[in-house]
Subunit: 433 residues, 2 copies
């Protein structure tokens, strides 16, 4: 019978410090839930001398990974060091030594989740990573446990706080993308090199993980189509707003009859959609289940304490499993084969903004093309610009296939009256179609 | 080793039919998750002859409860018959026979939860009731598992779909309370006798359950202060909207330093609050945890399939526990003593609408009283009504104690210039104060 659970921490940055803080400050509650005390036994750090945000006995710190990975007293390893290759080796080593692992590392899980799960299963170890997606929101548990009996058909998420902060500022204050990014950097919501966030890569990693768990299907990072927000203009955001839509960077995963679609794209959401009112750095994941219908999980997507809270929740589960002798059962089974949807199978509504010559009959030429592609229009705005002898045309289409829409764009491109295809975006959540 | 799990259903109304439907239609997924098949073995019904919404072998139906409660093959009893006294006896009998119980019965759990938990623990049985609060939203699991390591300080919920539908119609279409209620009844969102919903009793039961689990504190139904929505006017909703607030029936539970407050009241929420945008019959529960900060769970609060999904999710947990030999461990421990907050300890902002004589110096008389009670004002609207020689004054206060606000009302009541105290409501979510 386990009398005490000893933790080895890999990393002691802001999140690691948060984990130590929660464990130290919630001893009473943790003991009530678990019946045994939890202690942090060793902490791997790069620099033994660095001043720490949290009160840790310096004797626990080590710069030698083996002090954590080979300590037979340590039952659970919490990985908050980040990185992929070396970190993966450490975690595999932990599993080989029969240690359970809790990780917050979305890059690692997105890239190597299946391999790590296989190693965990082989060694009868638990492997949890709630904190890797949407920080403090218990979404992975919600998907794997709470909605366990439901067939999940679609997951849509605002899973990157940086881009949501930027888009919120652009929408509410008319700030340009560049200025909003600068503000986000000043406030610590964006990194000095914001590429992974603003180009959608961070969101893509999270969507790969969500898709895997939601659909029990082997989703690879390369299955995720990605477009970031760096090309989004305040003008489009304003146009959308006039039409009743809010621009969000939406991670979308959909699984129907064995056909998978996963993408991350700037998307106009109908203002009625629950995700449309998720603002600033907040995250939310909307899940559509066949039986339950719409549900949404909302919360902070990042931050030391929210992320640390998710890690400690995983830890609580692991400790319960250890005490009950049932570790290694939480295997993520991929029992559906995967086929990626082709463009003819991917359906959406679209927002399209065109700059055309201000001539008679322009709209009828356009209408003809839409009609040929069997794309019907839901909303149309036409605004003449007398000075430039041009007109701006904005349309919202009804549902159509990506293939069809691409063909439409080709034809529009060849119209002599066209000056420019200014922009186009997916549109979601505008009622059932 | 368990080779098969057999279910006994108590009741086969819409929710019970939904449970049978999900179990029948998700055999493959359930078997993948659990490793054993699940079958519905007996179903207790009142009327054996009645036509059923779901395809059930008539041989499974019985009108004798002992056929379910005394069948040694039945491992899990699912209670979806409703009612309190007889139902409680059936459930206690099930526990005595070593059967695990999943229930959707908020009335029963709100009134007798602690006694039922004690009986479950004594017999090493599981007792789950996710469906009793907010139908398809996995909020109880979110609170007990997901946020396990966090200290939950406050729970606020829109936990009654009927009243939320009515308030949404009143706000969006200016419909009167009576007409909105009639609409809700026609659409099946309100019952013929809507008392339990519109007077807040249904929400109070859910808040008692939420408070218990969130704070590990013995919350009784009688600890919950309740005001319903039947006195809410479209006029107040419109006034609130002009000031940036949305009227919702909010269930509120707060626990600080051993002091508990639980109430259900029509409340003005700042439009920025995540709960403010929850519309129509949807439910949502907002949880404030010390570490994680704000999170919110959103989804359908009722409906056959959402509720049935929650029940089957509980069933999945029970079956896992059975297979792992760890039933009866999910005891809800009440380890905090409870003291109810007194009016001097309950703080809130307030909305107050007064009808006063239109005389010089009225506002300075009012100001003096607010000043005496040390209540400062955040927003003021004064509107003269020349015809009636009166004026309407609406204020939003800063945070004050309920005791203080009651004293203020007494003093206002005695002002010679007062014609009427038209209404007052709590105001929440307007930033940190």
């Amino acid at each position: 019978m386990v009398k005490k659970v000893s933790i080895g921490l890999l990393g002691l940055g802001v999140v690691g410090s948060g984990v130590v803080h929660i464990i130290n400050n919630h001893q009473e509650k943790l003991k009530h839930q678990l019946g045994v005390p939890i202690e942090v036994k060793r902490v791997l750090v790069r620099n033994l001398e660095k001043a720490r945000e949290v009160d840790v006995n310096p004797a626990l710190l080590t710069s030698n990974p083996d002090d954590v990975l080979n300590d037979p007293d340590i039952n659970v390893v919490i990985e908050v060091m980040g990185g992929v290759d070396i970190t993966k080796e450490y975690i595999l080593q932990a599993f080989s030594a029969g240690k359970h692992v809790v990780s917050a590392n979305k890059d690692l899980v997105a890239l190597h989740g299946p391999e790590l799960h296989a190693a965990a299963e082989k060694n009868k170890c638990d492997f949890y990573y709630e904190a890797s997606v949407a920080g403090g929101i218990p979404i992975l548990r919600g998907i794997t446990d709470g909605l366990a009996s439901d067939r999940i058909e679609r997951v849509m998420g605002i899973v990157n706080g940086t881009t949501n902060y930027i888009l919120t500022k652009m929408a509410e204050e008319g700030t340009s993308y560049g200025d909003a990014l600068k503000q986000a950097q000043e406030l610590g919501f964006a990194e000095a090199d914001p590429t992974a966030d603003v180009e959608g890569l961070d969101a893509a990693r999270k969507m790969a993980i969500l898709g895997r768990l939601a659909f029990s299907t082997p989703v690879d990072l390369k299955d995720v189509t990605v477009t970031g927000i760096s090309q989004v203009s305040t003008e489009d955001i304003k146009n959308g707003s006039e039409l009743g839509y809010t621009m969000k960077l939406i991670g979308y995963a959909d699984f129907e009859d064995g056909q998978l679609e996963v993408h991350v794209m700037p998307t106009f959401l109908s203002n009625d959609h629950p995700l449309a009112s998720v603002k600033n750095e907040y995250n939310a994941v909307y899940v559509y289940g066949k039986a339950v219908g719409e549900t949404m999980f909302y919360g902070p997507g990042a931050g030391s304490l929210p992320t640390a809270t998710a890690i400690v929740s995983d830890l609580v589960n692991v400790v319960k499993n250890i005490r009950l002798g049932v570790t290694g059962e939480q295997v993520v089974k991929n029992y559906h084969n995967k086929a990626l949807k082709t463009p003819s199978e991917r359906f959406s509504q679209y927002y399209l903004r065109l700059n055309v010559k201000d001539e008679a009959g322009v709209f009828s030429q356009l209408s003809k093309i839409f009609h040929e592609q069997e794309i019907s229009l839901k909303r149309i705005i036409q605004r003449p610009n007398k000075k430039e002898k041009s007109a701006e045309i904005i349309v919202i289409t009804h549902q159509t296939s990506e293939e069809n829409f691409t063909k439409l764009l080709d034809k529009v491109q060849n119209l002599p009256v066209l000056k420019e295809i200014s922009s186009y975006y997916r549109v979601e959540g505008d009622g059932v179609e």
